[in-house]
Symmetry: C3
């Protein structure tokens, strides 16, 4: 009988736990895959609006630049100071190493604050599988 009670309680626990969880934080992965500085500025505007509206501490944002979008993260990109601001505000800005290899870019060519992922596209898919929202400005 004690064992039976234990089984029943064990079965119930995950359900109660789920219903008492805190609201899931807002998490957004933002794709940059175009070579257009106007689009890069739009991305950075979007990120700022998300932070302003939701609170910078209540939203987790990753920018992933790959393919023709990698230019946004080069050290001499016209959006360079805005990328610095985004990083300072807590945004993870990630460059695709597959793209860098194809375009013969090395880390010295890039904005010093970025981080690196082996494949931008894999990162974007993985984040969606983990429940992140996807934004392709």
């Amino acid at each position: 009988m004690r064992r039976l009670f234990l089984v029943a309680v064990l079965a119930a626990v995950p359900l109660f736990a789920a219903s008492q969880e805190a609201p899931r934080p807002t998490r957004v992965v933002v794709q940059v895959s175009e070579a257009d500085p106007a689009r890069w500025n739009l991305v950075l505007n979007n990120v700022k609006n998300l932070q302003d509206d939701l609170g910078a501490d209540k939203v987790t944002i990753e920018i992933v630049a790959y393919g023709p979008g990698i230019g946004m993260l080069k050290f001499d990109a016209p959006t360079n100071s805005r990328v610095s601001d985004a990083i300072k505000s807590g945004v993870a800005v990630q460059a695709c190493e597959n793209t860098m290899r194809n375009q013969k870019l090395v880390r010295a060519d890039m904005h010093p604050g970025v981080s690196y992922v082996p494949a931008g596209v894999v990162q974007i898919i993985r984040r969606q599988q983990e429940g992140w929202a996807y934004l392709r400005p």
Copy 2:
């Protein structure tokens, strides 16, 4: 013993409830973030195809225009009559107030049938978190 039975049944209820739920309605948030009338027409074609194929009463659609895409919702846009048709058919067509402020647009500049959201990008993310599909034509 009666209490034990109750615990076991309570544990089981949510599982049965989940399996008997009605199929979730199809809900789609459609992004417009480009200044290109050909793209606006593509968006409106996409919305119409969703309605034709799924049944206009079985799909809930929101169009969110922001950034360079806001032009689609100005009263003098070339897609104006098609936007009216979409609204008449039940689509919520939403303009981003952040973008309007940046571009010095007021409500008198806009298609009279649109509704307004404080930040288009926040709306798009929130809808995804609520389980809506995302379409970026």
Copy 3:
């Protein structure tokens, strides 16, 4: 008492089953809706990177071409041999029949390896509802 035990165990089974399931396979629906061969090559690069990084047998990929993107799947598209390679590697490459009708295209105009969906945009939405990740390169 035996019946009670059964109820408790039945209640518990789905929970244990869920926690012991194999990790859900990665499934990705990739949208092509632009008339730009450079974008078509980016799509095909993205698909290849997903296969290389995740293992071609561990990721299920569908490419859906519609609207101005349908050109990628015409038999004389510049990306033709790469589309063949993608199909050989297990990618489902799908042309939108709505678009084909609008553009007066018939199956004889298309790459012989593609498959067909009645409405590309419905396919993209349905896949997201089934838990697939969405990629719009």
